[in-house]
């Protein structure tokens, strides 16, 4: 029964106070933008960390001049070890080709190379939960004892780093999340508080005329929702622009940036998150409405 009037009041109020509302939407947008940006960065780092996990493995160097049968038996032996997902055999020749490929940019170091100085090797992929400093150490010790194996390159340091990185990432995510969520709540709360504050006198009067809480609250909830929604929309748009700017432009220079992922759901979800936060903030800001 009040809704038509509340809608009209909210729209009119928002038009009359263009400035405050623009600033509010802008503020909400900029904080949601930061949330989105940091979220996106964390998301992508997480993704990247995931691929590091998958890619990472041990490299087992074989003694020179092993027969095919001997090589095969080493591989079988390794497959039996706990934590090993797969093992890929790389011959001397493959190794050189691969290295040359990887180091294209500095390929001049291979100028005039006419003997192949590399060993044949086996690359292992390990299970995710197997990549801890101790487990990798034990595994590589075990593999080294297999006959035919010359050396195991275990890169404990990389394992340690990934481990540390993962832990500090979750810590940081938590801190950043808490800081940002309280930031967004603060902004929307104080935004609606301002709108409420500006109409304090009017609300006081309407209360004295006998208005119910719902009658008073509804326009504010609509305003909060609109501001939050628009804030979410703007921040999503801004993030998309930044995203395309980075993937299309900067990736020419830093090719790794081409792999940045922007989850499509964000485009739908974020304005709705803004709307919900707006309604919530408005609700808190209008408060108990004592009579």
């Amino acid at each position: 029964m009040y809704i038509g009037y509340a809608l009209k009041t909210a729209l009119k109020g928002m038009y009359q106070e263009k400035w405050i509302n623009l600033l509010s939407a802008f503020t909400v947008a900029s904080s949601l933008f930061i949330v989105l940006l940091i979220g996106l960065i964390l998301f992508n780092i997480e993704l990247f960390a995931g691929t590091i996990h998958e890619r990472y493995g041990l490299v087992v160097f074989l003694k020179d001049n092993l027969s095919e049968l001997e090589t095969q038996s080493v591989i079988t032996e390794i497959h039996k070890k706990e934590g090993v997902i797969s093992a890929r055999y790389i011959s001397k020749e493959d190794a050189l080709k691969e290295i040359k490929d990887k180091l294209k940019d500095v390929s001049y170091v291979f100028e005039g190379l006419d003997t192949n100085p590399l060993s044949a090797s086996i690359e292992l992929r390990l299970k995710k939960d197997f990549i801890t400093p101790e487990k990798v150490k034990t595994l590589s010790k075990n593999i080294k004892e297999i006959s035919g194996v010359d050396e195991v390159f275990s890169a404990e340091k990389i394992a340690e780093t990934i481990d540390y990185f993962n832990r500090s990432l979750s810590n940081m995510s938590l801190i950043v999340l808490i800081a940002l969520i309280s930031g967004v709540i603060f902004v929307i709360y104080s935004t609606v508080k301002i709108l409420f504050y500006r109409r304090k006198e009017e609300i006081e009067t309407v209360k004295l005329l006998g208005a119910t809480r719902a009658f008073i609250r509804l326009p504010f909830l609509i305003e909060g929702a609109t501001i939050g929604f628009i804030g979410g929309l703007i921040s999503t748009a801004a993030t998309l622009v930044i995203y395309f700017a980075i993937t299309y432009r900067l990736s020419n220079v830093f090719p790794i940036l081409q792999n940045l992922v922007f989850p499509n759901e964000v485009i739908v979800v974020f304005p709705i998150v803004g709307l919900i936060l707006g309604v919530l903030g408005a609700f808190v800001a209008v408060g108990k409405l004592r009579f």
């Binding site: 009067t205 209360k207 004295l208 009658f215």
Partner: protein, 220 residues
């Protein structure tokens, strides 16, 4: 309809009302007078629960105002139309909307709101100002908007706080006649005023506030 028993009201540093006792019958019209700062406005505020009494009991119709639940306050207030001494017009809204809001709050359909608002604006002679902003009105015109808003919903009780302070004598008498007409249809009315002309010869009760309480009662 309205009864005060031993009602007192204090502000931090002084007493405004002490042991006020009076009763206003349903359908009665009563005047309250007294010097500036006597407590006339405060007394009216206690009736529509804009202020809490510190002592005593106030009954308004079926409501016990001094022990009313917070959620019942809007119901109480919808039984009462108030002409505020300081007008309390809503700045952002037109004259029409300022009057209509009293009906919107009560959930009336748009059509009835329209006819009722224009009716009452005609009665206080400001029909032609319906679309104006209250800020562009003269003092007396604003006061008539407030009166229109107070009576438009035909509430059981009308409280008019100095309703003619900005009106010329002729318009003032028109307003008092309007209130009398409404009174005849059954509304209980209390008018707080300095203006002796308003109650002289009306034959209504006049309560005089002095020294923080009702110091006397006469017939106007």
């Amino acid at each position: 309809m309205i009864s005060f028993s031993n009602v007192s009201k204090f502000y931090d540093y002084h007493t405004v009302l002490r042991s006020v006792n009076f009763t206003v019958e349903k359908g009665e019209m009563v005047f309250i007078t007294g010097p500036s700062g006597a407590g006339k406005s405060t007394l009216l505020k206690l009736i529509y629960r804009a202020e809490d009494a510190d002592e005593g009991e106030i009954i308004v119709g079926k409501f016990n105002v001094t022990s009313i639940k917070s959620s019942d306050v809007p119901n109480l207030r919808r039984q009462i139309g108030v002409v505020f001494q300081d007008f309390r017009l809503l700045k952002g809204l037109s004259v029409y909307e300022n009057v209509a809001i009293a009906l919107r709050i009560r959930g009336l359909p748009e059509k009835e709101i329209k006819s009722r608002v224009f009716d009452v604006l005609k009665r206080v002679n400001i029909r032609h100002l319906a679309d104006s902003n209250p800020k562009a009105l003269s003092g007396g015109e604003q006061q008539r908007v407030v009166i229109a808003r107070a009576v438009v919903a035909e509430p059981q009780v009308i409280l008019a706080d100095e309703p003619t302070g900005n009106l010329d004598p002729n318009t003032a008498i028109d307003i008092i006649n309007l209130l009398k007409d409404i009174n005849i249809t059954g509304s209980t009315i209390i008018v707080a005023t300095h203006n002796k002309e308003l109650f002289r010869g009306t034959g209504k009760r006049v309560l005089r506030i002095d020294s923080n309480t009702i110091a006397g009662e006469e017939i106007g």
